[in-house]
Amino acid sequence: MLFRFRPCRVHRKIGCVRSEVLVFYKATNLKIKAGFTRCGLGAHRKECSSMSFRLLAVWLVLASALPGQTVHAIGDIFKPLASPALAVRDLSYLVFAICGAIFVIVAGLLTYALFRFRRRASNDHVEPPQVYGSNQIEIAWTVIPILIVFVITMATARVIAALQDKSQPANAVLVTVIGHQWWWEFRYPGLNVVTANEMHIPVSPPGKERPAFLTLESADVAHSFWIPQLSGKTDVIPNRENHMWLDPHETGIYYGNCAEYCGTQHANMLIRVVVDSAEDFDKWVAQQKQPAIADPKVSQARDAFLGMACVTCHTVRGTTANGKFGPDLTHLMSRGTLASGMIPNTAGTVFAWVGHPQAIKPGNLMPDMQLNDKELEQVVSYLSTLR
């Protein structure tokens, strides 16, 4: 707990001071900073004397994984766990070896020359022999690099063709990835599943391949889909269809980011790929196919929710909510995180998010709906039943 004064950022007037009482909450994987703030010490006491509770910051230390799930949080391109990333890693060894050898040779020669041919007291006023060049040497250091370039180019061409022109097997899982300003939509054509921010695909170990083939589209600006341990990135561009494929060899949650600058919250357009065992994936699909649970205990809250503006942007399948602008909420609580991977998904964080989305992810496109306490409670109690 902390008490402090800060310049008032709400009114942005000189002399307007805000007093804050801050409360910190820290769980294993989440920190929340919230506080009562009161503006109006100083010249603007009357205009801004309202006292308000504001959520000041919520941040993630490392969002939760379900027990038993491995989290691959570090996108190390040298620890690949799918064929596309493996092929790149193997090619990179060749390239790094060649470049490393060139560096050692050239930097070594440079260092040697600097040391060996430095000015000394003995030769200070004598000019060295004036050498103008040598055609043989020029030819040598032109031809050798051309040969090296040729080798790297051939190796590169082979990997490009193998990765880009891979044919799609009959059992492939098809996913349409749609980038939105600052979240991801995943549609599974044929499976009738729509979800957001956490893409489930089955594990595809060698011998039992079941790769996922992705079609990448954008609803607004250019994004880029990148999970370093699974594959290099492919841009997600509006009015254009791109393709990539993944065949993760191990189950677990893989972290990635949007890798093309796409506006204010580009930094928090995080990607999670949940790689399930074959059975778990089928179970997940069966569950996600269902329309939303209609729990009679919250029917009043549900009616209140459906009467609010939420439904113009969000879909809850099986109800009249069919907005397309925001993430599908049909099975909201089956997801591990909120706000595109920013914070863990619990009833408490849903409360914080719906109440003050701009405090958690400033600039995101979900407006602060100015709900009163009762409305907020109704929305949250309904949403928390959507498993």
Binding site: A57, W59, L60, V61, L62, A73, I74, D76, S92, V95, C99, F103, A107, L109, L110, A113, L114, F117, R119, E127, P128, Q130, V131, Y132, G133, W141, T142, P145, V149, I152, T153, T156, A157, I160, L163, Q164, D220, V221, A222, S224, P228, G232, K233, T234, I237, P238, N239, R240, N242, H243, G256, C258, Y261, G263, T264, H266, A267, N268, P362, G363
Partner: protein, 557 residues
């Protein structure tokens, strides 16, 4: 010019003092004064954009930092990048070319002096326009909104649907104006080098520096129109209902990328070749040997000039081009490593067997050689398209291009400043402060950018205003931020050095480095008319011939 055109009473001019002196600078068409003004512009905007970078590093020093809000951070990197490319890199070329090309070829001035002055003022106006968006620009967050679309401003983020207000227009117009200035400089340099060389200076005997400036001018003239066309199309999209890049109406986002990078890749060579030009003057003088393989150097530069026009789509390996296109651009990208390698080898060959003097200009050149070598090698890695799919738009790329532009161009810039400062001002920069500047900058540079390679290989994307803990990036970012602060201190030492040396630096004399090109044959600073008499030019090193009549170059060329 004014003082030549009609007689002026010297005493009355002196009585007017500072306003009169400023007036002289404002109305000048003298290539040396314009060169100095371009250089001041370069250094001032370098410091401004550098402080923006330090602010960004402060925000990124720890995970989940809330020091700088996202919208402000996005403006910081947009303005930083735009400034460094268009208002530091381009004026750096113009400064060098303006000040040195006429002196090196024994000319009285540039071919088009008045156009030259216009070019400077329009470039400066562009820079001021960009920064005035911080006061007058209007965007999502109201007034005082600078552009926040990134320096390559990918469509359709720049369309009106996603960038409301005027901040993006400030960006467009600032760059169009600077483009006019750069085009003027390019035309002027080319015309000067072709038409105004002194007697005896054939193209074959023209200094390597001037050759490289000509190649840069050629690249500017070919590449810049693509950018200007793209900007005009974008303006039409925004205000005249066109749909070139407006994907919501069927436009093509990738088309913008082609326009931008068709300019953007030659642009990085436009930024680095002036650096090559400095190195090619300084390394021979401080090794006491002529440039090794001069003709091969010219050939390599011209080759870079042409090949650099066919590699632009290596910025776009991830946009989903066909495998054939990706293979072509991977091959052409790696091919450009060959002439670049030839250059490094020739500089090495120049030092080989010399008597290397480690004065500050040479120290910066040595820093350049090592850092540019690494930059070239990481460039090869990025040219390997599948590896690029992992590394592009990550911090690895950030590290790579800062190695070329900071470790390369800017180190060469400082080398050039220490080398030619005596010529331009008549006083030497302090060697002691110069060495502090150099070593602190080297330390800061490596602390900042070396770790970024690793953060990138651990999946850290560029242009993020914050990141969560636990993804392996914390340590690298902290070190990087410490490095940025160190670089800031180094640059402050440089600024102090310039200010002190201007007042009480050692008097330089005409030729403090015992050099060989024509600019050292006149006084420091040169008179308005440059040369009273010109030595006879019979070889590439006219002053060597003068100093060593027993062993002149022309006997061997």
């Amino acid at each position: 010019m004014a003082s030549v055109a009609y007689p002026v009473d010297e005493r009355s001019v002196k009585a007017l003092g500072l306003p009169s002196a400023l007036h002289e600078w404002v109305i000048t068409v003298d290539h040396k004064r314009l060169g100095i003004m371009y250089m001041i512009m370069t250094l001032v905007f370098f410091m401004i954009a550098g402080s923006l970078a330090v602010a960004m590093r402060a925000q990124l020093s720890i995970p989940n930092n809330t020091l700088i809000p996202p919208e402000v951070f996005n403006r910081l990197f947009t303005v930083h990048g735009t400034t460094m490319v268009f208002f530091v890199g381009m004026p750096f070329f113009a400064a060098l070319a303006n000040y040195l090309v006429p002196l090196m070829i024994g000319a009285r001035d540039m071919a088009f002096p008045r156009l030259n002055a216009f070019g400077f003022w329009i470039t400066l106006f562009g820079a001021i326009l960009l920064y005035s968006s911080y006061i007058a620009g209007e965007g999502l967050a109201g007034h005082g909104t600078a552009p926040d679309v990134g320096w390559f401003a990918y469509a359709p983020l720049t369309e009106r649907a996603f960038s409301r207000g005027t901040s993006t227009d400030y960006w467009i117009l600032a760059i169009v104006l600077s483009g006019i200035g750069s085009t003027i400089t390019a035309i002027n340099v080319f015309a000067t080098a072709i038409c105004l060389r002194t007697k005896g200076m054939t193209l074959a005997k023209m200094p390597l520096f001037v050759w490289m400036m000509c190649v840069v001018s050629f690249q500017i003239l070919v590449a810049l129109p693509a950018l200007t066309a793209g900007q005009v199309m974008l303006l039409m999209d925004r205000y005249l209902g066109a749909h070139f890049f407006d994907t919501q109406a069927g436009g093509d986002a990738v088309l913008w990328q082609h326009f931008f990078w068709f300019f953007g890749h030659p642009e990085v060579y436009i930024l680095i070749i002036p650096g090559f030009a400095c190195i090619s003057e300084i390394v021979p003088v401080f090794s006491r040997k002529p440039m090794f393989g001069r003709i091969a150097m010219i050939g390599a530069t011209v080759a870079i000039g042409f090949i650099s026009l066919s590699v632009w789509a290596h910025h776009m390996f991830a946009v989903g081009m066909s495998s054939q296109a990706n293979t072509f651009f991977a091959a052409s990208t790696m091919l450009i490593g060959v002439p670049t390698g030839i250059k490094i080898f020739n500089w090495l060959g120049t030092m080989w067997g010399g008597h290397i003097r480690f004065d500050t200009p040479m120290l910066f050149c040595i820093g350049f050689l090592f850092q540019f070598l690494i930059a070239g090698l990481t460039g090869i890695m990025l040219g390997v398209a599948p590896l690029d799919w992992q590394l592009t738009d990550s911090y690895f790329v950030v590290a790579h291009f800062h190695y070329t532009l900071m470790g390369g161009t800017l180190f060469a810039l400082f080398g050039g400043v220490y080398y030619w400062f005596p010529k331009a001002t008549g006083r030497m920069l302090s060697e002691t402060l110069g060495k502090w500047h150099f070593w602190l900058l080297v330390l800061g540079f490596h602390l900042t950018f070396d770790p970024q390679h690793f953060a990138g290989m651990l999946g850290m994307p560029r242009r993020i205003y914050t990141y969560a803990a636990g993804r392996g990036w914390e340590g690298y970012n902290l070190v990087s931020s410490v490095g940025a602060a160190t670089q800031g201190i180094a640059i402050l030492i440089f600024a102090i050095n310039v200010i002190l040396s201007l007042r009480r630096g050692r008097v330089a004399g005409n030729d403090p480095w015992d050099a060989w090109s024509l600019e050292w044959a006149t006084t420091s600073p040169p008179a308005e008319y440059n040369f009273e008499t010109l030595p006879e030019v019979r070889s590439t090193r006219p002053l060597w011939d003068l100093k060593h009549p027993e062993d002149p170059d022309w006997k061997f060329e």
